[in-house]
Symmetry: C2
Subunit: 99 residues, 2 copies
DNA sequence: TTATCATATAGACAGTTATCTATATGAAGG
DNA sequence: CCTTCATATAGATAACTGTCTATATGATAA
């Protein structure tokens, strides 16, 4: 994953509705209609948010008949968490220092 | 931290330039002018991004004379990481299940 | 085949974001 | 006090986002 990938994932989590959806999915796979029950938004709006979360691979979709089941991808979560906590290798020369 | 706080932090990280800045700061405190050297943006644009990262408490600012030094707040990072990896307590009734 | 149900897509639109240039602020040095 | 330097703010603007209603798609049931 590069900076663009990370930014896409964080952007996907950077919305109150989606972070709520994400939190719900962490406890296990959920049907779209169940998510809709818990959120104050229309069905197309939920669909839009699920697309954002899917496009960056944060969640996976399983279709069964006319239902959609969503779940979080644990591997991506580990990468995100690792990125947040890891120490960067970025080396920089000092500048505008007084000492 | 509630959903809104988390969403603000992730939104702050949801931009390629800012995720890059964040990565640079992980290796230690940096001066604004050094960050500017490494990025392809104007000084006011950097200032804008630093404000976004500060407003959600992801980074802290230390002023010394006319220079600004930025660094990441490790406590917030731990919270973000914990949120990503933790299992939600959200309990939901099953719905539209076939079995 | 037709109706129904779950989900996705299209189109519209107000609000937000990322960027720039120009300018202000505030510290340090002469 | 005036100049210079680092950073912040203001204002403009094009692009993007989140939301809605209306409609399409695609699966299941009658």
């Amino acid at each position: 994953m590069n900076y663009i990938d990370f930014a896409l994932c964080y952007k996907a989590l950077g919305d109150e509705t989606r972070v709520k959806i994400f939190d719900m999915l962490k406890s296990g796979e959920k049907c779209a209609c169940k998510l809709l029950d818990e959120l104050n938004c229309s069905q197309p709006t939920l669909s839009y948010h699920m697309k954002m979360l899917s496009d960056c691979s944060l969640i996976t979709t399983r279709k069964e008949g006319k239902w959609c089941y969503y779940s979080v991808d644990i591997n991506i979560l580990k990468e995100l968490s690792k990125f947040i906590l890891s120490t960067s290798n970025t080396k920089m020369e000092k500048c505008c220092e007084k000492d």
